[in-house]
């Protein structure tokens, strides 16, 4: 087991962003994390990778209790993530951006080695020809790829992908889905937040669903697609019309 989350809670003042969430992740598994807007998905990532300290519960990463560990130590232990709103280091070259991931995350290689790894990863993500360009000059799709490249350059054990498909066109989406699968095939475990349903259903081994900070469902993509409480969370109560009819009788 690469990640074990137990009873995780996060409270912002009066708002309970996460309450009592428990799940686990096996090695080389792709876990889909879905839920309506504001369900606490990104907060979950922030609690796992140490951007926030959770209010309650524990996170065990690779057999080690990492609850409350700062995010830079998590990165060095082999946890990498991408951001929903991309955070390119604009005034640095694409290569430098990715080298930072290789230099400071995971194994923390030397500059020379980092340059080699960075170029490899950029080639893998098909933006290798952009390495000399400033990161700020990339388009959205390329910036998303850069986010993943930076994360991958640290040779992570676990990769948290936060809406990497948002804002991409259909052909870019299917390309990215293949990329994600290839990354998994290299032995990286992945948790993926996504709103593009057909993609997440296609790529995930298992899916968990958050709503108002609670875990409301867990299962295979099939099970989730037919789960009543999930449909309710997304679309409202499917039996609402029926119930209304009954009360009118």
């Amino acid at each position: 087991m690469i990640l074990d989350v137990k009873n995780l809670s996060k409270r912002f003042g009066g708002l309970e962003a996460l309450s009592d969430v428990t799940f686990e992740l096996q090695e080389s598994e792709i876990l889909g994390l879905i839920g309506p807007n504001g369900a606490g998905k990104t907060t979950m990532f922030n609690c796992i990778n140490g951007v926030y300290g959770p209010t309650g519960g524990t996170v065990t990463f690779n057999g080690e209790n990492t609850t409350n560990l700062k995010t830079y130590f998590m990165a060095r232990k082999g946890l990498a993530r991408t951001h929903q709103i991309v955070k390119p280091l604009n005034e640095l070259s694409v290569l430098d951006n990715v080298m930072i991931g290789a230099c400071f995350g995971g194994e923390g290689v030397t500059l020379k080695k980092a340059a080699v790894i960075a170029q490899e990863v950029l080639d893998f993500l098909r933006i290798g020809d952009r390495s000399d360009q400033l990161a700020g000059s990339l388009n959205v799709g390329q910036k998303k790829r850069l986010e993943i490249a930076r994360a991958l350059a640290s040779r992570p054990k676990l990769l948290l992908l936060d809406e990497v498909l948002a804002g991409l066109n259909p052909s870019e989406i299917s390309e990215m889905v293949n990329t994600v699968k290839e990354i998994r095939d290299q032995g990286v475990s992945i948790i993926m937040i996504e709103h593009v349903m057909h993609a997440i259903m296609n790529v995930s081994d298992r899916i968990i669903v958050l709503d108002y900070g609670r875990l409301i469902a867990e299962g295979s993509p099939q099970e989730i697609a037919n789960n009543e409480s999930v449909i309710e969370a997304y679309l409202g109560d499917p039996k609402l019309a029926e119930k209304l009819m009954q009360t009118m009788d």
Binding site: N49, Y72, K87, L92, S154
Partner: protein, 323 residues
């Protein structure tokens, strides 16, 4: 990547310093030497500030506090304890570095404008403290007995020696700046400058990296402070902690191009020349600082990357050479 290109920028910088050093030596003119001393001094100070401002992206308005404090400590050791210049310079550098380390732990949590304001506060607080600290002479400061210069072969020889020491320190600052720029540590600093949160997520231990950048940018001003006040023969709280001097360093860095090795050099040189011209001009001599303020405004509005930064943007091919 060809090897010579990596060292080209450093080579040009060191040659320029050599040129500035040789100019008064060749002309044999004492006035030229004073001019050259001040140019070298501001190049070293601006380049030190650049490690924090340009590489790490933290604006320190009150950076002169390290110059004043280090200078005071070193001066105290020379006059009151009887140390020679060399250990005193070391003491000045170390005390400035130590001050930066402690301050860094406290104020580097602040970001953006809050950090900038805190640095001003620190400088003013330090001046007020020194002003009332009797061992350092309080408001009148300290004066050096001229007999101290005898150890260096007399006052004239001491002045001449101070000039060459200054040149050596400046070269050292430039080499340090270059090494930081091209190191893994420097890459981490650049990441912090661009986006501190993203840098931390990628594994850069930002609190430590920032503190060391702050310390590194404080050590040299401390050393230079000792040398400068040694050469002056006295030290007073008012000029030692002059806030607008600190802001002038900022203008130099911005003018030449923050975040590059050559930028602060060029900016310091250009600014010092302009300052010399303005101070001797009938019309400008009293409003010299307002010209600096206007210049900063123009740079920030129209060429935020500074001269070297602008060239790097315009001619991407030169990026590897102009560091």
């Amino acid at each position: 990547m060809k090897k010579w290109q990596n060292y080209f920028g450093l080579g040009v910088a060191l040659l320029a310093i050599l040129g500035i050093t040789l100019w008064p030596t060749i002309t044999g003119n004492a006035y030229n030497r004073e001019v050259a001393f001040n140019i070298l001094r501001v190049i070293a100070l601006a380049s030190s500030l650049n490690i924090l401002l340009g590489y790490t992206g933290y604006v320190s308005f009150g950076h002169i506090v390290f110059y004043g404090f280090g200078g005071y400590v070193g001066f105290f050791f020379i006059t009151a304890v009887g140390w020679s210049l060399w250990p005193a310079m070391l003491a000045g550098g170390i005390s400035a570095g130590l001050l930066a380390y402690l301050l860094g732990k406290a104020v580097l949590r602040l970001r953006g404008a809050y950090f900038a304001l805190a640095t001003i506060g620190v400088n003013e607080a330090m001046r007020a403290f020194i002003n009332n600290f009797e061992p350092f002479g309080g408001p009148v400061g300290m004066t050096m007995n001229f007999s101290v210069y005898q150890d260096y072969g007399g006052p004239l020889e001491a002045l001449s020696m101070a000039f060459y020491v200054m040149a050596g320190i400046t070269a050292l600052v430039i080499i340090t700046s270059y090494l930081v720029r091209s190191s893994k540590f420097g890459l981490g600093l650049l990441a912090i400058r661009e986006d501190e949160d993203a840098a931390e997520v990628m594994g850069v231990i930002a609190p430590n990296a920032k503190t060391w950048a702050y310390v590194l940018s404080a050590i040299f001003p401390g050393i230079i402070g000792v040398l400068f006040f040694f050469k002056q023969g006295n030290v007073e709280p008012q000029p030692a902690f002059l806030l607008h001097t600190s802001i002038e360093w900022l203008v130099m860095v911005m003018l030449g191009g923050q975040g590059t090795v050559l930028g602060p050099m060029l900016g310091a040189f250009g600014y010092q020349q302009m300052r010399g011209y303005l101070l001797t001009n009938d019309f400008f001599k009293n409003i010299q600082l307002s010209v600096s303020g206007g210049l900063l405004l123009v740079v920030v509005l129209f060429v935020p990357a500074g001269v070297i930064g602008w060239i790097r943007q315009r001619f991407p091919r030169l990026r590897r050479i102009l560091q």
